[in-house]
Symmetry: C2
Subunit: 147 residues, 2 copies
DNA sequence: GTATCTGCAAATCCTTTGCAAGTCA
DNA sequence: TGACTTGCAAAGGATTTGCAGATAC
């Protein structure tokens, strides 16, 4: 079930070396159910391999993005999060008030993708999209007159 | 036509002071056809009023956001851009390859807003949304085998 | 007069870079 | 061996913060 062959292939095919750091970084990303930040990847890898440096994490992330093995998402926290190709794609409704994140299915945006392609010849990468707004609870809170 | 009354009201009603810095910052935002960054606002205000400091720009932006007078948009450049409430709302298709930005009309996303409200009770703030992907030109370039 | 604002300078946070030493192939 | 990678340390850019002096009301 482990697709290590694919990973190894993808790197070496293209002339990139397979280093323990790269493997551990990729496996940290693949292992996280949620989206993971550079800092979190670093902490996780450093737990087993204290020698790593965060700049290696960033450089590897850059490479994996280029190879299409990892995607970015920006939830508006001032830091980027990462997630592995192959794990399920979905979207996020982020409440601007309380920060709650509601996950929604990929299919919710598929008709939008079609419209953008038809009308603008634009191929939207809607793998992980964050949509900001207000959740039901916070709207109630507001209409009650809270801050 | 100038709605200075509204601005003044909005600030003083809520107990905030009306300072020249705040007026100039807001007018810089309102005056920019495009979205404007903190650095650009600063440069523009500093041209007439060399004494301002960029931290005042950031603090004012924070306040204007809180009052709903200014909105943010993140085009993925590593810096946030701002824009005034009241100027036309629209969305952006950002090409990940060449950086081209295609502006699209607000109505393109209105059915999405409805779906999110109906299915998730989430009130999406779709004022300025950036959607990433690839434009027609860059797709052609790619299929021709360029990097 | 006084609480709110501002300017200044320094700090913080995330990310990137230069370079010499280390390592995969 | 030799080019690709890494660790380290320092730089970078955007944004935030502490504080004392300035200012709107």
């Amino acid at each position: 079930m482990q697709e290590t062959g694919g990973i190894v292939g993808r790197l070496s095919e293209r002339g990139y070396r397979l280093t323990p750091q790269r493997l551990m970084i990729l496996s940290a990303i693949e292992g996280s159910r949620d989206h993971i930040s550079a800092e979190e990847i670093y902490a996780q890898v450093a737990a087993k391999y204290p020698h790593v440096n965060i700049s290696t994490v960033y450089r590897t992330l850059e490479l994996l993005k280029k190879l299409g093995m990892v995607y970015e998402i920006d939830l508006g926290e001032g830091r980027i999060r990462y997630h592995a190709e192959g794990s399920g794609h979905h979207h996020h409704l982020v409440c601007q008030d309380c920060g709650t994140v509601i996950d929604i299915d990929e299919s919710t945006l598929s008709s939008l993708r079609d419209v953008l392609f038809r009308d603008y010849a634009f191929r939207a990468e809607l793998r992980h999209v964050a949509i900001f707004g207000f959740c039901r609870e916070c709207r109630k809170k507001k209409s009650r007159g809270g801050e």
